[in-house]
Each structure stands twice: as C-alpha cells, then as structure tokens.
Symmetry: C2
Subunit: 359 residues, 2 copies
C-alpha cells in the first residue's frame, strides 16, 4: 500500500473507534499509535491543557511510564498552545523554542518534531498533539495535514468527556445546594437528608441494584424532603404534636417536592428522581400518601427511601427524645415488613447495617 492508502485506512479505523472505544485513554492511545505508524514517527504524545495550573500534561505519552507535566508556556508544545498554529521543526537543536529539560529528565533524544494544536468544537485550544523523530528526515506538510485531522478527532472526544464530567459535577453541586437549603430551614433535623441518602444507597447496593439506579435513588433520597422548603416555621419547627390542619400542611411538602423536582431537566438516567422522592410516604398496604398506591405500584426507589427515612428518623437524636437504638429501630420497622414496608427492602437494610457493623 502507498502512503495515501495507509493514511486512509488509518483515518477510517480511528474514526470508527469513536463509538466503539468507551474509554478516552484507550482511544487517544490508538490515535497516538496510528499517528506514529502512519507518519513513521518514533513517538507521539497527547497533551491536555490544565487551565487551573497553567500546565500541559501528557494524557498519552508513548514509550513513557509516567506522566509528563510541563509549563504551558515553555517548549514547542507551549508555543503551539499559545499560537494555535502547527509547527514543523526539522532540527530541534536549532530552534530556541525547544525546551531540552524533558529530554534531560527522561533520557530521550528529540531530533525533529511535528506539533499541532488540539481544539474543541468552539475553536478553543485545549491541548497539543506532538509526533517526534520521523525516520529518514523531518515531517512534511502532508504529515501536518494528517495530524491536524487526527487532533480534531482527539479534540472533540476530549471535549465530550469533559462535558459529561462537568454536567455531572454541576448537577451534584446543585443537588447538594438544594439539600443544604432544607437543612438551613430546619436545623432540628440537620443531617437527615444526607443520612437518608446514605441508608438508601446502602439498601440499594445490598439489593444488588445497578450503579445507575442506585445513583438515581441516592439523589431522590437527598431531595426527598425538599418540598419542606415551603412549610412555615410554625409547623415545621413546632415542638408539640401537630393538629389536623398542621398535619395537612406538613404533608403537602410531598406534592411540592414532586412539583419542584419535576421541573428539573434531569439527564435520562435520573428521570425517576421526582417519582422516587414523591413516593417516600407511600406504604405497601396502600395506607400512605399522597396517592395511597400499594404494592409494586410503588416504585423501588419509593419503597427504599420509605424504609431509609423511617430508620433515620427513629435513630437520629431529636430535641424531644433520645435516639432509638439501631437494633430496636430495625425491629420496629421489621414489625411492619409486608404491611407498611417491602420485606426485601427491610432485609437489605439489615444486611447493610450488619455489613457496616451498625448492629
């Protein structure tokens, strides 16, 4: 095959790898090895720009057993990061921009280099792709053309991964802010939401639920009381038993939770968060609220959070009573297994508490 055919095969292969290779490092390693093979280079390196530290770090460095971190303004890579333009360097020893310190520390000898910017879909430079030591002479314009295309694929894939990551961390921080707001409202039950999340997560894992469903249940657990944000202090913080009217006001928090959470545009994996949260006061025998549904008509999330919520309420310290012993609280819940609570969920709570040596 001639050079062109090799490069065509290579581009077809790496493009198709986008949807087949799940892991960013594996994909970039493939891009680096195809680049070296196609261009006849000794090594290829993919650097990602770390804005916070103003450094370039090697997510993929062929022939290296450790990460390289360099100042984002130094060397050929730093130069390309700054200018956004491709650089062909025929003899690095004659180029003042070359920084020999990495070679000194790794024992490698760079002779010639091809360095191209990696951009996201907004055109911002987010990294640098570098191939070094082309055998039989320096890199050509055609080599640069090829590497720029490979770098474009690297750029959009890196961007996608960081978008997924940021979407998740943004969501998590916002859900935490929502949960903290409830705690700010009602210091008497401080820590309740976080604890219910912990127990609900433990139960889910001991039931063998998937990581995705467990995460969905944990978020719903953290937010299950969110509607309490609208309950007046006179009811929310009342030390004495509530009268009938006040009970109605208090119970209205469940529907408000549903309304507020339903307005949030969750990602697909978290679509059931509102339903799980709303159903935490439903009971297996239909005696719960707000809808009075029973049995399997209550979602698995609702059944788990119900048990986690009651266990937390019984074992937490309240100003009007001492906390109940965990074993005693489990017994209280166990007595209603099959009537109010899902027996399998109660079993899972017990195995979780045993595994954590709480009981």
């Amino acid at each position: 095959m001639d050079d062109g055919s090799v490069r065509l095969e290579s581009l077809l292969k790496i493009l198709k790898a986008i949807s087949r290779v799940r892991d960013l490092n594996t994909l970039l390693a493939l891009l680096a090895s195809e680049t070296s093979a196609c261009l006849g280079a000794e090594r290829s390196t993919v650097f990602i720009y770390d804005r916070a530290r103003n450094e370039l770090w090697s997510i993929i460095a062929e022939g290296m057993d450790r990460q390289i971190r360099i100042d984002a303004t130094s060397g050929l890579a730093g130069h390309v990061l700054g200018t956004g333009s491709t650089l062909i360097t025929g003899d690095v020893s004659r180029d003042g921009r070359f920084d020999p310190s990495v070679d000194r520390s790794t024992g490698f000898t760079t002779r010639n280099a091809l360095t191209v910017p990696i951009r996201n879909t907004r055109g911002e430079v987010t990294g640098v792709f570098q191939a070094v030591n082309k055998s039989g002479g320096g890199f050509s314009m055609e080599d640069a053309d090829f590497l720029e295309a490979v770098a474009a694929e690297a750029g959009v894939t890196i961007e996608n991964v960081s978008l997924y990551e940021h979407r998740r961390s943004m969501l998590e921080s916002l859900i935490k802010a929502l949960a903290e707001s409830i705690e700010a409202r009602d210091p008497l039950t401080a820590g309740h939401s976080e604890n219910v999340m912990k127990y609900a997560g433990g139960i889910s894992r001991h039931l063998g639920l998937s990581a995705t469903l467990t995460r969905e249940i944990e978020y719903a657990a953290l937010l299950h009381d969110y509607g309490k944000i609208g309950v007046p202090d006179a009811v929310l913080r009342k030390p004495d038993p509530l009268d009938e009217n006040e009970i109605g006001v208090m119970r209205s928090h469940v529907e408000r939770t549903g309304r507020i959470l339903s307005s949030i545009d969750f990602e697909e994996d978290l679509e059931s968060v509102p339903q799980f949260a709303v159903e935490h006061h439903e009971r297996l025998d239909g005696s719960g609220y707000p809808a009075g549904v029973s049995g399997d008509a209550i979602s698995i999330g609702g059944r788990i959070i119900a048990v986690a919520d009651v266990f937390e309420a019984l074992t937490a310290k309240r100003h009007y009573r001492d906390p109940m012993d965990p074993r005693e609280a489990l017994g209280t819940i166990r007595a209603a297994a099959g009537t109010a609570f899902d027996a399998e969920v109660v079993d899972a709570l017990q195995s979780y508490l045993e595994a954590e040596r709480v009981i």
Copy 2:
C-alpha cells in the same frame, strides 16, 4: 486522483472542519455533500432520532426544501436504527423493508441505498446516515466503510451539541427550582426574583454588555436573595419594622447566598454568579454590606443588581403599602446616583424603562 486519494482528502477536510465550523447544521451539510461527492451518490441525508416521538427527522436532506419526518420503525432508516447495522440495498424495489411513501410524497425516485447507523461515544444509536442512488450501480463495501467513518464524526458532533444544550437546560431548570424555593418561603414578595432578573437583564443590554455577561448577571439576579432560605419566618415575614438584632439576621442572608452559590460548580462563563449576587447590597460610596467595598471594587453585576433590586422593591405591591409609580421610583434612585448607585447603571435603567414604555 484515484478514489482513495479523493476519500483521504475528504476525510482530512471534514475532520478539520469539526473545530472550524461552529454550527452543527453547516458541519453536517458538509459531511453530506462530501459523502455524495466521494461515493458518487445522488443525495445524502442525515436523520436524527427523536426519542420522545419515536421518529427520525432529517436535520440535513440534500435536494429537499423541507424536513422529512418518518416513523422510527419504518423503512431502511428505521431498520438500521433498530439493528444498529449497516445496510447496502442494491435495488430498493426488491427489498420489503423499503418504505416508498416518502418518495411518493416528494416525487423523488430511490433506486439503491447505503444506510449506516450514527452512534454517540457511548455506542448508542442516535441517528442514521443515508446515501442514495449511486451512479453506475450499487454501493460497495468500501463505500460502507467510508460512510461509517463519516457517520462516526457526525455522531460525536451531534452528541457534543446535545450535551451543551442539555447542560444549559439542566442548569436553567435547577436555577429556576432554587428561585421558586425562595418564593415558596416568602409569598409576600412573590415574583421579586424574576422581576429583578428582568430589570438586571434590561440594564445589562442597555449598557451594551455581551450576551454571555448579561446571562451571568441574569442568573445572579434570579438567585440574589437565595440565602433568605435560612432566615426564620419570624424575621422574614414580620410585618413591622425589624429591630437591630433582626436586621442582623436578615442581612446574614447575603453571606449565606454567597456560601451556597459558591459551592455550585458553574461552567466557566458563569463563574462570577456568586460574586455578583453577594454584592447586591454594596453601595458605590462604601455604605453597603456585607464587605462595605466601594466604587469599581464592586463588580458590574453587583452594581446592576443593586439598582434592579431597589427599583423592584419600590415599584412592587407590598401588603403594607401601595406600589410606587415607576417614574417616582426612578427619581428616588436617581437622587442617589453617584453616591449609592452607579450613575451609568441608573441611566441604563432609565433607557430600558423608556424602551419598554414603562415610563
């Protein structure tokens, strides 16, 4: 140039377009036209899967002046969406899976077709790429190989755009949920946060600020009172003037706003939301709180939200007084321009109110 060279050139060109072409439709149109040219096809179409309606719709349809919408289970495209496998159809009239209804409605005649799945980086099929009517006979395996690579680029780019869109809509819905929580706490000032956002946005635009900065200021305006979530009803809803101690409690909302908003992992363009929100009670002459900073040391967002907040408070109906006439409220604020308020911001409020025919 032989076929291979043409295809290599084409792939290099479309890959490099990822970071150069800002608009998804333009990029996909380029992919479609390169595909038709390289494969010798009459037309190429990019379909996106609409999960909610279970339909495929043509984001790009060469030679069509309108969008095609088809049932996601019908036709060759529906078949490929369902199976996730490439389909080469030499003679569509002999293939029972072909749905002639689109041809009937458009007057086009499909003879042969190459249909490949579009996938995201998670491997999920999110659309279909189809080329039809190869001149001089049917599509080959090499054609399929090429189109699968082009479809991979389409897939990752479509995913990228939908991630940006979803991140934004998720953030907006969560910020609205936060804002509604404040309203639920304090029905007396219902609509305050939304109105302050509206005025702050209007002022920003009349100051000629960028769309990005305006959005940042609008979000901060919507959330500026968020810390009030933790102020007890006895203070928040007190109809009479507050005593010194209660004023302290009320003012503490600003720092709580800062604490909660700072914990949110906003995208880069929204980094200043917490600062803008926290500074809405600062005054130009240093007489404000919480920090008592003055002049340009107060962010532009803080100076704008301060004016928007006071204008809203004066002109909104409160249970203890009638709303002030907008012209009178502007006069009141104008009297403090240069001392409490930024005079340019006050001018911008005036031109906004005039443009909206509020005054």
